[in-house]
Subunit: 682 residues, 2 copies
């Protein structure tokens, strides 16, 4: 301690920032002057408690100081009252009340930092910095004065400039309408919700409350897919997910895949408007649902970030998607958008809520792919990463820190269990895991909703409620891969007959064969088989996916990739081994195939919590090189070659190192000839 | 001509700008490089004809050049076709087609200038520079390219940046919705309506048309008064007024004056919302009316500028005016506002139309006073000017180029014929001019709708249709002033009895007297008299007006003003002499009292046509010093002194030089004691 001088050394941890301050300087003031990230909503008035700090006492050889017990001013009445009423962790002080009285080391706990780092639970455990567009601040406004007659709003603006360095504010008429009564109710002390997006030159006042207000400040991240809509309700102060919910996209009744919806719009005047209406309604319903789950008023949702493929993008915005159905697949707008929720009829959010739409990459590669790029950051990867977002349309990114490529590939809905004879959406009762004994050719499986395998005596009881109803997307992939491994399917995709395979489960179905996976007829349930047509549907889908990836590898000039990330809700359920046996993805060491979960939704959440992330993804999207599969002649070639299981020409050395696929052939001519048909997008 | 060189001298008139340009340079290009104000909507493609110029040939000693007949390139096919189809004034060329081939003098006719100077018909004949926020430009957009997949909107933005130096555009969803079909219909050549207000950091695309489009580009200037609403439909390319229309303010049914409307809002929950609704509806009706009169679609109205007093300001914006009814008279917002018309329910304008609201000066001095300041520019006056906007509330400005003061004064509706026994609004049948013979004390008068005086034998026939129904605002002022000149009313405001005045027209009415102006009872019409109460009402109104002016003179430190401007629709009809006899305004030479007509409406039009004017009035309002009459003790004193006709203490030397007012007194005690009551605002 330097009792002889009038100032003292203050060292903040973990930042390590240090400086000398006059004795009596509040810790918050010192932190601000040094640029230390110490939160405060009330501006140092001892109300909000956001500026809690932990002083360290004793010897700090690392910092070269000794901190005496009286290095900070004594507890004052504000802190006493705060601790009594609201509680304060032992050892904590309020940074705005505690004053520097001697050399001191001050630790800023994570929850007191504005730019908290939030650990995302993902394969890569990246940290995320809070930098939200929307925040709340407490401000004390000058009272009106007849002799200096400025408006209440102008005095609020002046106070925000002086107390929070916020310049250039604007307010919606609904806020202006409430301004005078709220100011007077709060005796000219108010909490305002401010919003400034990454392209905004002004700061919007979204809401105003009398006095110090600690109500929820929420945002909603939405991943609007062709089939499902997922919403996450997030706390904009710390990034926590308070609730998540999903809905089927109600546009499904206008068409299962994207192209049938575009056709619907083309053939039915006003059809696009109807599709816009129902999808906006669904998002309103989701807002209500997540708010209900979290037990908050949906009017506390001040911001929404939304990602989607280009057709969903247009239909959500109210733009006819017809141009996306034909070359050159021109987007009405590709850039990011900042919009008023009410212009989008999102009436369940706060009336002033803002909506940020991530940029699209190209006419077939949407804002959802941009969100995947934001979440998985291929542009920061040292090794060559292939990221596949598997849905009705697959969106594919390939690259590393020097260059990133993107394309989309029309896999169709087979991976989601559609266009499969016994296919169904992932729901209780759907077969999701399959194993086939290579010797007996007998299967065993598991259904969604139960952990018990079908060869377990407890299976019947465990699945009594939901039954065994069909096969979901991951189930059909495993089934086909297992059939290939068991020698029931040849490299060309043909199912062998009972004579060829030695299994009575290979039953004739017309001129081809099907493999009986489960016979529930005795209990009144369905007979579930994998038919030849199902194998063909999976072949078409996986060929499209592989061909897209291969096209990007050509463009990148590489023959192999270092790792593969499977994104999309479905990606989480695909077994890497089975995916590789099918030849869905290029050959890599199995441990290099990881799942990123719903990376598009994660990307939406990152953008919701950070304006810097918005700048970042806009720049990244600008740099991503887009490859259009529809016009690339080599796509067709790759597609045909990829029809074989796993592949007609490409070597799969890693795969061959772990499994040996039986050399069978059930057709005198070579297989794969039926795979040449090109499937439409969707 | 300088045939030997590769360049030539080009001189533009009237600007006098000159420069040397390579032979073959189009005149438009030369003009742009020199910063000559030469219009072009199509960007030099020979479509819009806005860049017409007139080359001068022969000797120009003033400029030191001789222009040969071949100084410009020959007529080309574009010009030929243009002249054939659409006509071109002899001697004119299209600046984008004619190329410089030798030294030349080029005149830019006024209609080819973007920043046209428009002569305003007003007392001061000021010129007005066109500088509108909204304009139309023709632009050629790159077609979409699969290999460079940007959105159509982003390519439009790029084209606007390259061809018009417009950076940072934004579009409403309704424009985005129409973008793709319009671009394709126009083969990627479109005309866009752009808007950039004086505070905007982005340029909004308000509308888009295929190809080159010359539809009307209109704005509406609205003066929303307590009693009447006036709208002017203006061409935003040249400032012309295409149509004007007026309506009674439908809020009158909630209260005649402002304070009764504030009371209505206070006593009836939702009353303010109802008043907001009806006034917005009225503006929609007016938009329809002016568009109908001009024969255009109201959707061509892209912009509106509106001015009003503070209570109307709040009620229009949907803000409860309750705070304006009590000290400290705090405005919810005092600054200028830029809003979306649809947020104000102005559905009859274009869907994307913008609304600019002039700033208010203080809680009692509104945007209408700001508009008067913009129109009359007291801040640019060399002499000390008093500007009085006479309405239900009088707004008063006093100042010169060094300083401007403002206040409002609660004159009440007496000047508009309300609260007068035989009063009526200005309409056919209302007495508007009065003369009383000082010897016989007999009156003669004229009614609105006829030029014939009542002592003319043709009067009965001329007024048969409308009859003689009452007295309007200007009529009552003249009547009272004439009664004072004829010795029928004493300086204290008392009407003499028949014995005192020698006129049988001075009839007893209870304990006081009234002067019979017209007896229409024989024809079944009314007996129209000026009663003692009417004199009192006028005294209260004129005392408030004079006291306000006098208060500003005190603050300014002057005893006299150099000139007086009467603004407001009513101002145009007040005779300066009668106004001064009444003591409404301070004594100045009669020829120094002028009328500015509806200066508030003119100010709104100026702001509509120029963003620079918006900057200017915002700066002016900031500099104007506001004086609050309600809290100024001297106001009361001035008010009492001003009760006498013309005044109890202030000398009126100019008035005394032209009239001699009879020294009469009809009360043994001195007059004026009844005038001390203070009227409420309204």
């Amino acid at each position: 301690m330097t009792a002889e001088t009038n100032d003292a050394l203050v060292i903040f941890t973990p930042s390590g920032k240090r400086g000398r301050f006059a004795l009596g300087t509040p810790v918050l003031t010192a932190a601000r002057q040094l640029g230390v990230d110490l939160d405060s909503v009330c501006g140092g008035r001892g109300i909000c408690s956001k500026c809690q700090i932990t002083p360290g006492y004793g010897e700090f050889p690392k910092h070269g100081v000794t901190v005496s017990e009286d290095a900070l001013s004594d507890w004052n009445a504000v802190e006493d009252r705060y601790k009594r009423i609201r509680g304060l962790i032992d050892g904590r002080r309020l940074g705005c009340q505690a004053k520097v009285m001697g050399d001191v080391v001050i630790d800023v706990p994570p929850e007191s930092q504005v730019h908290k780092q939030v650990i995302r639970k993902s394969a890569t455990e990246r940290v995320m910095v809070m930098d939200p567009a929307t925040r709340a601040v407490y401000v004390e406004v000058e009272e009106p004065d007849m002799h200096e007659p400025t408006g209440d709003f102008e005095r609020l603006a002046r106070a925000l400039a002086a107390q929070w360095q916020v310049e250039g504010i604007e307010a919606d008429l609904s806020v202006l309408r409430r301004l005078q009564p709220v100011l007077r109710k709060g005796e000219f002390k108010v909490t305002v919700v401010l919003h400034k997006g990454n392209h905004d030159s002004v700061t919007r006042v979204l809401d105003i409350f009398p006095g110090f207000h600690e109500g929820p400040l929420l945002g909603m991240a939405v991943d609007l897919g062709s089939t499902t809509i997922a919403a996450h309700l997030c706390d904009l102060t710390d990034g926590r997910v308070l609730a998540s919910s999903g809905l089927m996209n109600p546009q499904i009744r206008f068409g299962e895949d994207l192209m049938s919806r575009v056709s619907y719009a083309m053939m039915n005047p006003g059809g696009d408007i109807e599709m816009t209406r129902v999808v906006r309604e669904a998002i309103n319903t989701l807002a209500q649902a997540v708010a209900g789950e979290a037990g908050v008023d949906p009017a506390s949702i001040y911001e929404m970030v939304i990602v989607f493929n280009p057709v969903m993008h247009h239909l959500f915005l109210g733009v006819d998607p017809v141009e996306l159905g034909q070359a050159p697949f021109a987007l009405a707008t590709s850039g990011s958008l900042s919009l008023d929720a009410r212009d989008l009829d999102l009436t369940n959010l706060n009336r002033t809520a803002r909506v940020y739409v991530l940029p699209c990459i190209a006419g077939h590669v949407g804002a959802d792919a941009a969100a995947v790029a934001l979440s998985e950051e291929p542009n920061k990867s040292k090794d060559m990463v292939l990221i596949v977002d598997v849905g009705t349309n697959a969106e594919i990114l390939l690259g590393n820190e020097t260059r990133v490529l993107a394309c989309s590939s029309p896999t169709g809905p087979a991976f989601e269990g559609a266009q499969i004879s016994s296919g169904q959406r992932a729901a209780p009762g759907a077969i999701e895991r399959v194993e086939i004994d290579p010797v007996t050719k007998e299967p065993r499986f598991r259904v969604i909703g139960s952990e018990v395998w079908s060869d377990d005596p407890a299976f019947a009881e465990a699945t009594k409620a939901a039954g065994v109803t069909g096969i979901c997307g991951s189930g059909i992939i495993e089934a086909v891969a297992e059939m290939r491994m068991a020698g029931l399917v040849d490299p060309g995709g043909l199912i062998g007959g009972p004579d060829q395979t030695g299994s009575a489960r290979c039953e004739p179905h017309g001129r081809t064969f099907g493999y009986l996976l489960h016979d529930g007829s005795a209990e009144g349930g369905p007979r579930i088989s994998v038919l030849q047509g199902d194998i063909r549907a999976i072949q078409l889908a996986k060929s499209a996916l592989y061909a897209g990836a291969r096209l990007l590898m050509d463009e990148m000039g590489v023959e192999t990739v270092d790792r593969v990330t499977l994104a999309g809700a479905f990606g989480a359920h695909i077994s890497p081994k089975h995916a590789m046996i099918l030849g869905m993805i290029p050959d890599v060491p199995l441990e290099k195939v990881t799942s990123a979960g719903n990376a598009a939704g994660t990307g939406a959440r990152i953008a919701l919590c950070s304006v810097a992330a918005r700048d970042q993804i806009e720049a990244t999207v600008h740099d991503i090189h887009k490859v259009e599969t529809a016009i690339e002649p080599r796509f067709q070639e790759h597609f045909v070659n990829a029809n074989a299981i796993p592949h007609a020409v490409d070597p799969f050395p890693n795969l061959n190192g772990i499994v040996t696929l039986p050399e069978v052939s059930f057709n005198p001519k070579s297989g794969g000839d039926e795979g040449g048909r090109r499937r439409r997008r969707g």
